[in-house]
């Protein structure tokens, strides 16, 4: 949290706010509004031993496991999407040692962030009751002090660092999201350090003009980085569609080669690309523009 008015920095500066061993939670959901540029930057910076959390995880799960960047994942679901199924290397890691993965339900994961965002150590829910998930989780049954109703208490999840990608933000960190907010508002309020990447950094007055659409106030934000196409190859609501061809290629490579496939992928998109802008160059302007056009078919301007 910071009250400064200018939090603009580079992805590399922001990566320095993350320490080895931190609990890092990424915003968005599955392959939507993923803070992809920032996730790649953490891999580039060779962070190690992180606990990575996300409400639904896509293949960042196995990028982080295979490199050792993360040694534990927390989520409610891990998959690339119907068409590609569960990431193969992630599966291998969990089948070898189930303790690398902590599985919640979608809502109970969200309530953990919500509890933290409310400054509360727990919240009650009707989820998880009667399930085998409950037995393996640091959640516990409790009774309502008024009605005696059987409920589940879930403990607050206070991330060391939150990574969030938004549509627009000003230099102080006041951020606006278009389309579904996923869990990003709770996440921003829950975490100790908040890194916001954005499609566009706009003047403060542009935020004020639509002040009832501001979802994250600057005083919880520590770093602001402008990264156009910052979720790519994942999607950003109204801006660009996810690049399914990219997923196809990735998935084929990993199904064929396992960990070596993951390593080959990272050698390309992190090492050889040199930077996120370099990665976008390998995708190519015409593809980016086509994905933008396709987004506009689904979400008219």
């Amino acid at each position: 949290m910071s009250g400064a008015n200018d939090k603009l920095m580079t992805l590399a500066d922001a990566a320095a706010l993350v320490s080895d061993g931190d609990t890092v939670v990424a915003g968005g959901c599955c392959y939507s509004r993923t803070p992809w540029a920032m996730l790649l930057e953490l891999l580039r910076a060779q962070r190690r031993g992180l606990t990575l959390g996300r409400n639904l995880m896509c293949y960042e799960s196995e990028l982080f496991l295979a490199t050792g960047a993360a040694t534990k994942l927390i989520s409610s679901w891990v998959g690339i999407g119907l068409r590609w199924g569960i990431p193969k290397v992630f599966r291998e890691y969990v089948e070898r040692d189930p303790s690398v993965y902590e599985e919640w339900s979608h809502l109970s994961f969200g309530l953990r962030l919500m509890a933290a965002s409310m400054g509360m150590p727990f919240l009650p829910t009707a989820s998880l009751l009667g399930s085998d998930l409950l037995e393996r989780l640091p959640a516990q049954e409790m009774r309502c002090p008024f009605t005696d109703q059987l409920l589940v208490a879930v403990p607050a999840l206070v991330p060391d660092v939150a990574l969030i990608h938004v549509h627009t933000v000003d230099a102080a960190g006041n951020a606006q999201i278009e389309g579904p907010a996923y869990m990003d508002v709770e996440l921003a309020r829950a975490a100790k350090t908040v890194i916001v990447t954005a499609e566009e950094v706009v003047p403060a007055e542009a935020i004020v003009r639509h002040n009832d659409r501001t979802q994250i106030p600057g005083f919880v934000v520590d770093a602001v980085i402008e990264v156009p196409f910052g979720s790519y190859p994942h999607e950003c609501h109204g801006r660009y569609e996810a690049d399914f061809a990219h997923f196809d290629a990735y998935s084929e490579q990993v199904v064929a080669d396992g960990v070596a496939g993951v390593e080959a992928y990272l050698a390309e998109v992190v090492e050889r690309a040199g930077s996120f802008a370099g990665f976008l160059d390998t995708v190519g302007a015409s593809t980016l523009l086509e994905q933008r056009r396709r987004a506009r078919e689904l979400v008219p301007a």
Partner: protein
């Protein structure tokens, strides 16, 4: 129906599922067949059905040929009347606002318990599955829970390896004792038939067969002793319209967006 290819197993169950959804209700649908069944119902007999999807989308109308691959993406948000946060979307469910919860299943047992987490011993799993996602929350809160899955021995097991999303656990008393008092599982829809739950025992019961399927077929593909209703009905075959609509939704036209919008804007 001569001009139309025969229904696939998935189409059979999708269409059977769509027919269960009543107009004016709210359905929380998982991605894949439950979502397709919901979109089909809304197109055909339930124009005021409100579909809600995990990623925060309330009341979307899908673009044919661009059905979502995850419930969180733009395709799932298309023409929704409300896009909100994930917690808020689920909390409407916990509040009791959703009439139907409609999910798929990796593995399921005679009490309607669903496993989408681990095949084998969870401490030494044979296979890691994708996990709960919102399924556990949906079965814990949506008023009537419906499950749709292919009817196969390996899926319909005596006892699931892991209860990701509880059905009747080991019967109605155990469900109540676990605190699951807000709602109940009501149906399992498969490519072989329609299954309900026996009220007294909470066990699955065969209520109706897909066209041409026999009770023996069902038993042969079920890994436990399935109860059978006194009067097993036969489901009506998919109509040409149902099949055509479903395929159009799935495969799309040559991006004739305007026409679709016109049609779906009707009440």
């Amino acid at each position: 129906m001569s001009a139309v290819a025969a229904p696939t197993p998935v189409e059979l169950m999708t269409i059977a599922g769509s027919r269960l959804l009543r107009d004016g209700r709210v359905v929380f649908a998982g991605v894949g067949a439950p979502l397709e069944a919901s979109v089909l119902a809304k197109r055909l007999h339930a124009p005021s059905l409100t579909i809600v999807l995990e990623g925060g989308s309330i009341g979307p109308r899908m673009l044919p040929g661009r059905l979502p691959v995850s419930t969180n993406e733009m395709r799932a948000a298309h023409d929704a009347f409300m896009l909100t946060s994930i917690n808020e979307l689920f909390l409407y469910g916990q509040r009791g606002c959703y009439d139907y919860g409609f999910i798929g299943a990796g593995q399921l047992d005679q009490y309607g318990n669903v496993n989408t987490s681990y095949i084998g011993d969870p401490d030494h799993p044979k296979v890691r599955l994708p996990g709960s996602g919102g399924a556990n929350d949906i079965v814990s809160s949506c008023r009537e829970v419906m499950i749709m899955t292919r009817h196969e021995q390996r899926r319909f097991v005596e006892r699931v390896d892991f209860i990701t999303s509880p059905g009747y656990l080991s019967g109605p008393e155990s469900r109540e004792a676990a605190g699951l008092v807000r709602n109940r599982p009501v149906a399992v829809i498969t490519d072989l038939g329609l299954l309900g739950f026996d009220e007294a025992t909470g066990r699955l019961r065969l209520d109706a067969l897909q066209p041409g399927v026999t009770e023996a077929d069902v038993h042969a593909n079920t890994g436990f002793d399935l109860l059978v209703s006194d009067t097993v009905a036969e489901l009506a075959a998919p109509t040409e319209q149902e099949l055509a609509e479903l395929r159009w939704l799935r495969d799309g036209e040559k991006s004739n967006t305007a026409t679709f919008r016109e049609v779906t804007s009707a009440p």
